[in-house]
Symmetry: C2
């Protein structure tokens, strides 16, 4: 597929749609906004232009031009997470940041894609509700990330599980048509499940311009647990025990020793048992105080029986906030260790997490590189990060590919997948070819072609589509 650049003539048309102030063409400004996202030279490129749309009509007008002129469109939101692979047009929905409606009686909220999770939670709390999103990744992020308007080198958290909490989407299709799928009813199967298809499509099937979020009653009582272990494998082996015991914590995260150290350093704070080999951090919720106690004592007990060094319970607001700070920042803390790093998001059947971690450790040893692991292990999800540190560019490019190739091979052998929670992102598109079922990939491509005949929307997210 041959794509065009955004010419001066196109820029003029874009100015006409959103106003000059919302069309960014200066290389300096673009680099300022996209400097970090495009540092991975192999997989990213500076866009020709960034357009900030204010409503779905503007998005539609922009897409129609791009579709007619065959210009690649990369959708993004306030986090600016999406990085184009080959220039073209970046459409930002950061100005579409209003909460349009909250209906406590029916427990839903209608928002624009630029609204942040923090704002959603605040509004929900005011109405004695909450947005459950993906509790396993509650430490992040922007709504854009769950609604296919972004996904790139960073960002794109809480996709798939979050889509369960979306009951409707307004989408600008790749041809410019504005369509609403689903809506405020919890169940609606009169159509194919377009909401989930588009919510998980990483901006390849449409740009989301409005989101109907399902809300839930706010939990009445909560507590967090921090449980240090002197052995990573002991910690990780407790995870399936907790999950199958019927306790069902709302979140369950795992941090390895390097993550603990990085987090302590990042927060300039001495963490409890900061020499521990691993932490398990989880949140329990209950309808009464006595029930809450019962829950965290069961988890604490199970961990202590299975080699935990201690079990800290945070049930006051202050104590909980302290603990959440640790959980919320561990991803950033790791990135802070090395300005350039590479994160893989893998998922394996729960009982294979410890096996996967052992093998990943061995890969690190073989390649003499640090592989840092953490993540919402409660659903088999691990985030592995390798750091560039003082390697030169060439060595680093080779290391990344070799290490993740070995990791993905293990994951496939264990029945897992190379993308659990973070978006697959352009850089992993090739993985579809190497580690996925080619028939399944070809079905995905048929759908992409059916809805985006000129392949203008984020085509590099799907390997081979535009070669």
């Amino acid at each position: 597929m041959q794509y065009r650049k955004a010419s001066a003539y196109i820029i003029e048309q874009l100015n006409g749609i959103v106003g000059e102030d919302n069309v960014i063409v200066s290389l300096d400004q673009i680099e300022m906004l996209y400097g970090k996202q495009t540092q991975e030279k192999t997989w990213t490129a500076i866009p020709d232009v960034i357009v900030k749309a204010e409503n779905s009509l503007q998005v539609s007008e922009i897409i129609k031009i791009a579709n007619r002129e065959r210009i690649i469109v990369t959708p993004t939101g306030p986090a600016g997470g999406a990085a184009p692979v080959r220039g073209g047009l970046v459409v930002s929905t950061e100005r579409m940041n209003r909460i349009l409606e909250i209906d406590p009686g029916n427990m839903y909220m209608v928002i624009e894609p630029g609204v942040t999770i923090v704002e959603v939670q605040k509004k929900a709390r005011e109405n004695n509700l909450r947005y459950a999103g993906d509790p396993f990744s509650a430490y992040c992020s922007f709504i854009e990330d769950i609604s296919a308007t972004s996904s790139g080198v960073k960002g794109a958290f809480i996709y798939s599980a979050a889509s369960r909490h979306i009951c409707g989407l307004e989408v600008v299709m790749p041809t410019g048509e504005i369509i609403a799928f689903g809506g405020k009813t919890v169940k609606n199967i009169a159509m194919y499940d377009m909401v989930r298809l588009i919510a998980g499509s990483e901006g390849t099937l449409g740009i989301v311009t409005k989101i109907w979020l399902k809300l839930m009653p706010a939990p009445r009582h909560c507590a967090d647990l921090l449980i240090p272990f002197d052995d990573m494998l002991k910690a990780i082996r407790v995870v399936p025990m907790i999950m199958t015991a019927g306790i069902a914590p709302a979140t369950l995260d795992f941090m390895d020793q390097e993550t603990i150290k990085a987090t302590g350093k990042y927060l300039s704070q001495s963490l409890p048992h900061s020499d521990a080999a691993a932490y398990i951090i989880c949140t329990v919720e209950a309808k009464s105080k006595s029930q809450l106690e019962e829950e965290y004592e069961m988890i604490g007990g199970l961990c202590l029986e299975n080699g935990a060094m201690d079990a800290f319970v945070a049930n006051s607001l202050t104590a909980r906030e302290g603990l959440w700070k640790v959980r919320k920042c561990y991803a950033e803390a790791i990135s802070d260790l090395s300005p350039v790093c590479c994160r893989g998001d893998i998922v394996v059947p729960m009982s294979s997490i410890s096996r996967a971690l052992e093998e990943i450790k061995a890969i690190g040893t073989r390649h003499s590189c640090r592989i840092i692991s953490c993540g919402p292990a409660g659903n088999g999800n691990i985030q592995c990060t390798i750091l560039k540190e003082d390697r030169d560019d060439e060595e680093w490019e080779k290391l990344k590919i070799d290490v993740f190739d070995e990791i993905y091979k293990i994951i496939c052998r264990l029945g897992g997948s190379f993308s659990g929670e973070l978006g697959t992102a352009a850089k992993w598109a090739q993985c579809h070819e190497n580690y996925s079922n080619p028939s399944a990939s070809s079905v995905m491509k048929s759908i992409k072609k059916a809805l985006d005949p000129n392949l203008i929307l984020n085509p590099d997210r799907i390997a081979d589509l535009c070669i």
Copy 2:
């Protein structure tokens, strides 16, 4: 689209694939199997042939022939729920009825599509687990119903919500290719969400031949409540109160007076407060006995404060079984009132259920016909049934269309949908045209055409596709 009939030459080829015993061509036998499903002459037709496949390879061979020869294929399972609209080939997966694997450590089960929910639950229970499916419709049905291998005049329950509990599918695509999507990991977003797309496609995008079911720890303590009201609207107004109070019962059903009477008659049993205007029946689950008591007392209290006549708690196994019998059979009990009846499955925002029921009642009065309402109201879902009784065929056809046209108009006005839980089924395909967004329908059709270029799989489920 022009379709062919299954000729003698085709039958011979089918005999070669599955053996003569598994190819049913005798009109008598077909009518015996399909007599009930095809009594709705307007929307159903006797198939040319029924083929009983034993494995995915056989299904694939059959589909390849049908695709080459342009013969319509209607997939079905042991319930025989699917009825073809224009003859052709019915592919039954009733012989594919094995539980292939259960993995308690990772909490999943792999089954063939002919396994029943009852068998799944039994196997899960033996492993201290359960299949949550859609708790709001736990009174039904066959796995075929949740996995797109069936959906027709009856059956096709628990589609969309059940798909949340499916983590993988092996599918024979309309071109005959066998593809596995997803698998045993809980999260997997390396691809578009094909599992949910196909699970909700009512057999229009592929025939499911293997299912990976997510399981959950078995609940430790359960109780059921039966709460009679002397006024239907009082009962229905309590539903959103319960749902927003953070109690979250596992199921919440509603029965109107006619449903109560029909159920009592069907079970030859005198039900408590059998003269009640409505029942609310719900199930609560908890991790401890004290917590369970707390839960059902909260619900009971809320109902009694809001006009309930009484609140019966069943917490022994025998008492619970008695109550579940009532919930499980209410749909059949209604069908039993009139050999010919027509059921619509609607969904509205929770707070609009009482408004919807008032308006539906008024429609019944205007048309002098009984409209019976019941269903898992906890998610805004209502099943409305109208009975043919002693009307002649012509009058009945007109009545059905008029009544449901009025009902659907109300539902649309209230922000609901004409298909909450039951499959849309061929007879409602036209609804897509009348009550859905035409742009959304056209997106659905593009996907259908991309995956099934000859439109052989269940084409009449989607209006206009094959005109």
